[in-house]
Symmetry: C2
Subunit: 132 residues, 2 copies
Amino acid sequence: MQYIYINCMLELVIFKDNIMTMPDFEKQGGLVPVITQEYKTGDVLMLAYMNKDSFLKTLETGKVCYWSRSRNKFWLKGEESGHFQILKDMYIDCDNDTILVKVEQVGDVACHTGKRSCFYRKFSKETNDFEK
Amino acid sequence: MQYIYINCMLELVIFKDNIMTMPDFEKQGGLVPVITQEYKTGDVLMLAYMNKDSFLKTLETGKVCYWSRSRNKFWLKGEESGHFQILKDMYIDCDNDTILVKVEQVGDVACHTGKRSCFYRKFSKETNDFEK
């Protein structure tokens, strides 16, 4: 059993070293914005931030991890709610400073309000305001 | 003709005053991140930033305006390339600090590289790197 454990640790290090392109974390104080999109419908679910650690953990585990700016800590999405996000695909933009993840949203709820998406308030031309 | 001109100016002021919910521009030094999505396909085209002025101009004109962080100036998307973004819908998120716009992308090119979307580099598990 000890052999297997050591083997896993080695793979982890090699995996991290093998990533050639890293997002430009320096541009925004160690964080990059991450757009999260539901992989089947294309619906945008949320925008959050990753630091280097959560970026690497997302690729290693296949579950999307962020950096919580409000709680100032590593955040495995779904760790409390169970609403994990299973990574399907990841993209980086032309400037290397924004990530797009396509996910399977467990429970079909991404927002802390219980809504599917954080973007549920549409601008209405009739009221000149966003819907509540 | 002068009457018509004055009338337009008044409408503009009233329009600005009538917006009830303003994005939280203070959180990120006067800017909010904006996710831009092609309204028919749902493809995410880019992420950029708006200040209060570009936010209001976008709603007034129906063409998406940003704040260019690299050039540090107001940016009507397409003003040089002709690749304007026609606003179809706008959403604000649960925290009031991120905007999602659904647009018709003129020329079907949003990225300064000439690509359709800025997110054309997909992470490959085979190479452990983003595609070039």
